[in-house]
Symmetry: C2
Subunit: 326 residues, 2 copies
Amino acid sequence: MRLMLTSLGLIALALPLQADPLPSWEESASKAAILDFVAAVTDPASPDFVPEDERIAVFDNDGTLWAEQPVYFQLLYALDRLREKAEADPSILTSDALRAGAAGDLGALMAGGMPALIEVVMASHADVTAAAFEADVAAWVGSATHPTTGLTYEQMVYQPMTELLRYLRDEGFSTWIVSGGGQHFVRALAEDAYGIPPEQVVGTMGETEYRVIDGVGQIVKLPDVAFIDDKGGKPLGIDRNIGRRPIMAFGNSDGDYEMLEYVTTGEGPGLGVILHHTDAVREWAYDRESHVGKLVRGLDDAEAQGWVVIDMAADWETVFAEVDGG
Amino acid sequence: MRLMLTSLGLIALALPLQADPLPSWEESASKAAILDFVAAVTDPASPDFVPEDERIAVFDNDGTLWAEQPVYFQLLYALDRLREKAEADPSILTSDALRAGAAGDLGALMAGGMPALIEVVMASHADVTAAAFEADVAAWVGSATHPTTGLTYEQMVYQPMTELLRYLRDEGFSTWIVSGGGQHFVRALAEDAYGIPPEQVVGTMGETEYRVIDGVGQIVKLPDVAFIDDKGGKPLGIDRNIGRRPIMAFGNSDGDYEMLEYVTTGEGPGLGVILHHTDAVREWAYDRESHVGKLVRGLDDAEAQGWVVIDMAADWETVFAEVDGG
């Protein structure tokens, strides 16, 4: 690396320090609360100073880092793959849930509740190596398009949140995803979309099996759920994969309630932030009545808990990331 | 931090680059194999070059980073705590295994096999917060003494391995523990003993529960096993907590076989290393017939698999770490 010590070089180096680290955020109370918290925990002279290795920030994924309507994107992936499999071999459609899924009938599928959804997801996710599965998901995320926006899923990542992730890492934080979605699914996109490496993705885990295939040891996905990383499971997932209490947590639904509570009730500083989907024009507006990302307790308790609520419509200047090919 | 740019300061800074990074290792074939591998994967001009974020090294703990005779130290911890609890309330000794454990009768306890051991461990490990448990283990590791050596457990860490861990981190590796021992137990000592943070400790996991106690969200340990990180479970634990294939693996027993196989059968470079306990004078000599750290397949297959075998008696100049208070 070449050091530029000319005066021009020095100016170029100094500029980023003065620039707004969150340009897609309006000058709102939520932005100020985040910046103030980061300033306090990174200032060695502050009573709230936190050393770098304890600066851990955790993020829900669906509805917090990217969109989640009309249903979780992982389900849309599963439906795409189920339809392809059924075209090749219709005899795999052995239940109402699988037939509804292959027909793209979301209404009939949702009527079957969580068991129907799990059946569809497992049909498309199992009996494949983790490596092959992740490669397939990564290809889908960058090429398949969303049913109503027409954007690729990669383009439905929130620009303000990718700025926030980068800003926190610049300030010495490690940034983790703690998602109710499948761990392998989220890993397949986390590095490209968010700059988050595989080891910093916690999620719902399927059972797996170690198998030597053609002389190579492989992780094979099985059609059973091993650990559900949602609600009270999120602090447990944090304990399994991180092993200490984070100091910042970002979520958008009641599935994140316990994670925010865990992060903000420990000793020392802790900030909990809820993204409230209020933007029916640029994204979606939903909370108490939504079948995905339902948010009731979080809204009711945010003030008493001291949690920050982001009003998407008012607080974000930009919503979706600008990605090449959009 | 004050920068020393005097000529003396520069010499002091330059020296470590030339010094032997593994001074407690004899100039053996195993040392050369490790140094050669690290040189190849860190040299940008080498065909085997591996970028820093993929330089992942995994280590078994018991018998690889510290001793494991006459039984795993976690069991000795459990027995200490069980005895104390039984002194306060003898009515807790409701089974032969618990009575044998409280009496320190290892023979009778081992005769009960794995169920007896798990019963004793669970009796001392459950219904406590993870934070309180880890604090208690940390205190025990630094103060309790081993039944035959009289050393504290902290003093029974292998000096050559702590040098190796430091060396690998200096070379851009992340160093992980992948242990059959309990994840919370190993975390309690990993940072002090090995410089390994909690998030880089994978181990056998007990069931846990999220509970709000006196207004604070806590992880509570329950008396059931959730995941056994041993044998074929080690690659699965690596997948859950790391999410990519490591390039170096160190173990000492057949419980590490699949982990070494997983690491050395992938695409690209991979090095598997077995520590063979051959030193009855300074440590212990055991392999095929031992009730802990049994090593049969590893010895039989090492040559065919291309794994390096460390001969402790011949290859290590020093065995145990020198820790203050020894």
